[in-house]
């Protein structure tokens, strides 16, 4: 393969350089019916799972067919999306904030052909390319991150557990049979690139072993003061060590007792890797939300402290999530989010109903605010 220049000249990087032009304007991309009715929408209805109609004050309508996007997409797949949009939607489409794809048409009769076309397309392995759903009181797409596909700090994969979980929850993606929307998210480490900290159900990759220390290279690869400063629990201190070959090096020591495996030191210093097959795995958090509907936004809470990375299907993880959703589905009131339900019945009852064990790991012990999560009242429910 020969190098083909774009026109860029490394010797004169500033020549003809265009910068700071920002993204393309949204106005270029509005389908006509949107451009015309923007700001004039009167109401909407979800006609069936994945199919919305929005009706304008002008009488115009836009029908939206939402399909699951697996986010990690090849150009081949994107081109197929474009082909569909060209065929049915005059060459327009959009992506949602949760990485689903929305095909919009401006009249009802265009909906059925579009649906049919979408539903018919499958990958070679048998999975749907464009499953319709993700609206209303069900499960929509999982917001997720890079995992083993691209990142250096993950404690679990992203795309793998997401695929396994969406398969397990697929019925809820294609129906609106839950008490309210259930938002599932995944972050592969606690940097939490996503809204995992306030999702109904969050799958979080977590390390459980303190970093290894690569004494021999540490000082060469890292700035020791930055590594020391990075640790939120002050577990790291600078030390001098003598290597086997007798050379004295500057390096760091980690107080394992104080380490909570956050990996922030590794972010600052590659000579402090944490990853470990047995140490790493998944924390399940539940009950977060971001909408301000009825109750204020809530953080997710840790419901299961650890599940192993059993690739490729993460069966323990999908089983726990099913358990929670089933219990929620059976017990919660209409419009009640997972967290609202847990708060209403009490967390002690939540663990009982979901058949989850409560362990010492779930009791907050991080800094002063931990105190406020303990029970400062005699009000509690007995469980079996």
């Amino acid at each position: 393969m020969a190098f083909i220049s774009s026109g860029y000249n490394p010797a004169e990087p500033m020549k003809d350089r265009i910068t700071d032009i920002g993204p393309r304007s949204y106005e270029e991309f509005y389908p006509p019916v949107i451009a015309k009715n923007k700001g004039k929408w009167a109401y909407h209805e979800i006609l069936e799972p994945g199919i919305l109609v929005h009706v304008s004050e002008t009488g115009d309508e836009v029908y939206t067919v939402r399909v699951g996007g697996c986010r990690l997409m090849s150009v081949t797949h994107i081109r197929e999306i474009c082909e569909i949009a060209d065929k049915h939607c005059d060459g327009y489409l959009r992506f949602t904030t949760r990485n689903n794809i929305e095909f919009m048409v401006d009249s009802k009769d265009k909906v059925e052909p579009l649906k049919k076309d979408l539903a018919g397309r499958k990958f070679a392995g048998g999975s749907f390319k464009f499953p319709i759903g993700g609206t209303g009181a069900g499960v929509t797409n999982i917001i997720h991150t890079q995992g083993w596909i691209h990142c250096h700090t993950p404690a679990t994969d992203a795309s793998g557990p997401v695929k396994a979980t969406m398969d397990a929850l697929f019925d809820h993606f294609q129906s609106m049979d839950l008490p309210a929307q259930v938002r599932v998210s995944l972050a592969c480490c606690l940097n939490m690139c996503g809204a995992v900290h306030c999702s109904d159900i969050a799958i979080l990759g977590y390390h459980r072993k303190p970093p290894m220390i690569e004494d021999e290279y540490l000082d060469k690869m890292c700035e020791i003061p930055l590594a020391v400063a990075a640790c939120p629990t002050a577990a790291i201190k600078p030390v001098k060590k003598t290597l086997e070959d007798g050379t004295e090096v500057k390096t760091v020591a980690v107080n394992n007792e104080r380490c909570m495996y956050c990996g922030n030191c590794y972010t600052m210093c590659p000579a402090l890797p944490l990853a470990d097959k047995e140490g790493d795995g998944i924390v399940i958090m539940v009950g977060g939300k971001v909408s301000n509907r009825i109750s204020a936004p809530k953080f997710s809470k840790v419901a299961v402290a650890f599940l192993p990375n059993n690739a490729p299907l993460w069966p323990e993880t999908t089983a726990v999530i099913k358990q929670i959703i089933d219990a929620y589905s059976k017990d919660a009131r209409k419009y009640e989010r997972v967290g609202e339900w847990a708060e209403r019945i009490g967390w002690e009852r939540f663990f009982e109903k979901c058949n989850l064990e409560f362990t010492h790991h779930l009791i907050d012990d991080f800094r002063d605010p931990a105190y406020y999560t303990w029970r400062q009242t005699t009000q509690f429910k007995f469980t079996d």
């Binding site: 993204p23 929005h54 691209h150 009825i294």
Partner: protein, 437 residues
């Protein structure tokens, strides 16, 4: 025949949800075939090697990516995330595997023309793999080599009229909900504001001058469909000040079952007939609604604009007419001191071009943070460290009870010296005249 055996990954091809493995394989195959005879600028087997390294991670239970190196395009402090494989001999196709963040258009509407053009570029100069989209909102070009970075940037800007997004200690690519474009709840034009501010602050987006990353997100109403309140250093959430608009006839149509409650969002289960008392009146968090004699009454002064009633009866209720937005500050992910939601900073502000009032708030926040923020300290952490009062002072916003959920429970009030008559300096000798030791 695939370059690497992937027995573990293969198990993720069945099941209904779109399989990324199948998609990767189809791309690997397409590159191998190269029907269009593309002069690939990075290894043709990049996707096969990605499958290989991923299979290895599935087996090993750990990542095989090295700590990112510092790569980028000239003059920009962000937009590229360097990435190298820790098994380059085994997987040379992904030895370099940098991502590029392409700033997405507000609202994420696209033409197929635009997307196809991007695909051409990326197939040619990169892996042909993307994330549509990254969690912040960017289009992510997933995997290319160092020499291609400038080339891609050049083509993006020259051919596609398209810039990179943010990474590093910058303003990150702002993002927004669909808002007025297709949502009847929107209280302001999220795309307009998002796009305007993104362009207004291009310098902050591309040239790291901040202590750490900084995010804007724009939600048209308190439903928060872009999760701004949880994921943005400054969240702009639409709201209104006057009365909810009520169409009493439409209310009746909900009560009598003509219209489906919550626009049909719960139609997958039989929840029984709609019960306005149980489903709306009794669930209103402020208890400010009444339904008597076929008439809905809202005590709007007590309404906290939670959206519930509007969500349940969109054809009957609408946000008020005096619209604007609330600004919340300081949301962030848990690292290092625990997650933060945004805290209400500006209860209500009008959204009027050229958005001067909004920009004043943004810039005052930045001035403070750039002055006082430590390296890698997010706005929310600075707020915690120096106190909410300080944020108010620096943004010149009057403290109001709306700023708090509840007043302080500790009486550890810091007084300013000039607030206390006589000041802080006293003469112990004077004191001892009346108080023996």
């Amino acid at each position: 025949m695939a370059k690497h055996q992937t027995p573990l990954l293969d198990q993720l091809e069945s099941g209904p949800w779109p399989s990324f493995v199948s998609d990767l394989k189809q791309e690997a195959e397409a590159r191998a075939k190269n029907e269009k005879n593309i002069e690939y600028q990075i290894p043709q087997d990049v996707v096969e090697d990605l499958l290989g390294v991923l299979e290895l991670s599935f087996k090993d239970g750990v990542t095989h990516w090295k700590h990112g190196g510092i790569v980028g395009v000239f003059g920009y402090g962000g937009g590229v995330i360097g990435r190298y494989c820790d098994q380059p001999q085994q997987f040379p196709g992904v030895a370099h595997f940098h991502t590029m963040r392409v700033a997405q258009p507000a609202g994420k509407f696209y033409t197929t023309k635009y997307l196809n053009d991007l695909c051409d570029l990326w197939e040619f100069r990169g892996s042909g793999l993307t994330n549509m989209h990254g969690s912040t909102g960017d289009i992510i070009f997933l995997g290319t080599t160092t020499p291609q970075l400038e080339e891609i940037f050049f083509e993006l800007t020259h051919t596609h009229n398209q810039d990179l997004g943010g990474s590093g200690s910058n303003l990150r690519t702002p993002s927004d909900c669909i808002g007025e474009a297709r949502c009847e709840y929107a209280c302001y034009d999220t795309q307009a504001l998002c796009h305007y501010l993104t362009n207004e602050y291009q310098d902050e987006l591309h040239r790291p001058a901040f202590p750490y990353k900084f995010k804007f997100k724009f939600d048209g109403c308190p439903n928060c469909c872009v999760a701004s309140i949880a994921r943005a250093d400054l969240s702009f959430v639409g709201t209104w000040k006057d009365d909810i608009q009520v169409d009493q006839d439409a209310v009746k149509a909900y009560v009598d079952g003509t219209y489906p409650p919550n626009a049909g969002a719960h139609s997958g289960r039989d929840w029984g007939a709609f019960d306005i008392k149980a489903e709306v009146i009794d669930r209103c968090p402020t208890g400010c609604m009444k339904y008597e004699n076929g008439k809905l009454e809202i005590d709007n002064r007590e309404c906290t604009r939670c959206m519930h009633c509007i969500n349940v009866m969109p054809r009957a209720l609408k946000p008020g007419k005096e619209k604007g937005l609330s600004i919340l500050a300081g949301a962030k992910a848990p690292i290092l001191d625990g997650a933060q939601m945004g805290s209400l900073l500006v209860p209500f502000i009008k959204v009027e071009e050229p958005y001067d009032e909004i920009k004043e708030v943004i810039e005052a926040v930045w001035d403070w943070w750039m002055e006082e923020g430590k390296n890698r300290e997010r706005l929310g952490e600075l707020m915690k460290r120096q106190g909410f009062q300080r944020l108010l002072e620096m943004t010149n916003i009057k403290p109001v009870a709306q700023h708090v959920k509840e007043p302080r429970t500790n009486p550890y009030i810091f007084w300013k010296e000039d607030e206390v008559p006589g000041g802080f300096e006293r003469d112990i000798k004077e004191y001892r005249k009346n108080h023996q030791r």
